[in-house]
Symmetry: C2
Subunit: 229 residues, 2 copies
DNA sequence: ATATAACGTGTATTTTTTACACTAAGTAAT
DNA sequence: ATTACTTAGTGTAAAAAATACACGTTATAT
């Protein structure tokens, strides 16, 4: 039993894994680093926690500084703490994820010089990532796979008004497999958290699909949907 | 946007939430602290991570030092990082949980003077805990509730040979509700991870129940059992 | 007008979940 | 040995959920 007295000599960082869906592709938000180590590499948006903020607050601040995004609800999912995960010292990283709808609206503008730019990158076509970020991302993907099987949570990824086919696409992309259209619709509608709108899709070639909205009130009443005993 | 450059001035700690089942009660492993702050209080086994060990390794070491237990597989479940959670500085705590069978065999002997003693305490009868340990524990309980609904994992809590009634007790204690005996048995046996033994219970008043064993091979083939689409 | 491509729908079968109550077997006391 | 006691162990029917599967409809583009 080694008896080294440990001190206050760690750093704690946040890494954010943001999944985005643009209507057809599943993407991840990455930044291009502007600082050593791993200058010019792609990385998850992340930085060190300050002393006077909680890790939750820190996650919000860091995401904003590096990407310009604010008020994104992120959920913590794991702390990465291998000894050599950071080349410049002992840094424990707490990882958060969120799922987002993507539209033209949101400009990605790093407010800090720490990132050269922020960009949504197709999950199917990722570059090599800095640090252990590929590992962090993989664990995040596992997390959301499990998550969308529990509660129909992929709505966070969808635009305000969406078609059932889009919902199915999101599920298929995350789960990595094809689903049966009729059964999928039956199931999704059975949760009773979708409101069918009068409106139809616009600006598409071929037949336009009915649009739906997500009913938050009813949604919040759901919870659990777990194995029964 | 405050621009304070953060340094390596955090500490990282581990807290272990060990659930134990002694055949009839659900218990938690606590220590009585021998150091300030919270000297003489009950607390979860926990301490600071050393610089030359990973957080996973640290969890193993700390558990051993404070309770004498080793080679317990623990799973990380959350990092607690509020600013004021530790009165003596900025300490982020990474929490781990495990589920254990309890028998006379294991002596609880703190190897470090940090703990006066370690003791299994009934979950239904907990003392006030140091720091934010009640909160950490609550979150751990939620975790294992979800967990045993997914995979029949409560076997970690049971002795090598056990009766179906014992399995049901564990589930009832963790879930906090009564279950139907026939349906419970049907379900548990349907997982096909139990081997019925020739042997019967011994040393009980009244009719002895058949003993079962957990079949690890078959168990490892299970995984997921999630909502289907 | 026609071709195109995605939309939208129903049923039968199987599997899973739920609700529900009595007999069997072993122990302890008399 | 009889009896009283306590826990073990078992089945079925009804309801709900999951699965497998194919074609007519409709808006758009040419």
């Amino acid at each position: 039993m080694t008896e080294i007295t440990p001190g206050f000599d760690f750093a704690v960082s946040i890494d954010c894994v943001l999944f985005g869906f643009d209507g057809s592709e599943l993407k991840i938000l990455l930044i291009e680093r502007n600082e050593e180590p791993f200058k010019d590499w792609w990385a998850l948006p992340g930085n060190l926690v300050n002393k006077e903020e909680s890790v939750d607050q820190s996650a919000q601040r860091i995401l904003k500084e590096l990407t310009g995004l604010s008020d994104i609800y992120m959920e913590q999912y794991y702390a990465f703490g291998d000894v050599d995960r950071h080349p410049q010292g002992r840094v424990i990283s707490v990882a958060y994820y969120a799922m987002l709808r993507l539209g033209g609206e949101k400009p990605l503008k790093p407010l800090s010089s720490y990132a050269k730019k922020a960009q949504w990158i197709n999950v199917a076509d990722l570059p090599k990532l800095a640090f252990d970020h590929q590992h962090i991302l993989n664990k995040g993907l596992e997390k959301i796979k499990r998550r969308i099987k529990h509660l129909p949570l992929a709505f966070e990824l969808l635009p305000e008004k969406f078609t059932l086919t889009q919902v199915q696409s999101v599920y298929e992309l995350i789960l990595g497999k094809k689903l049966d259209k009729r059964n999928f619709r039956k199931k999704i509608l059975s949760f009773k958290v979708l409101k069918e709108l009068e409106e139809k899709q616009r600006g598409v070639s071929f037949r336009a699909a009915t649009l739906y909205k997500f009913d938050k009130r009813k949604y919040n009443k759901l919870f659990g949907k777990e194995i029964s005993f």
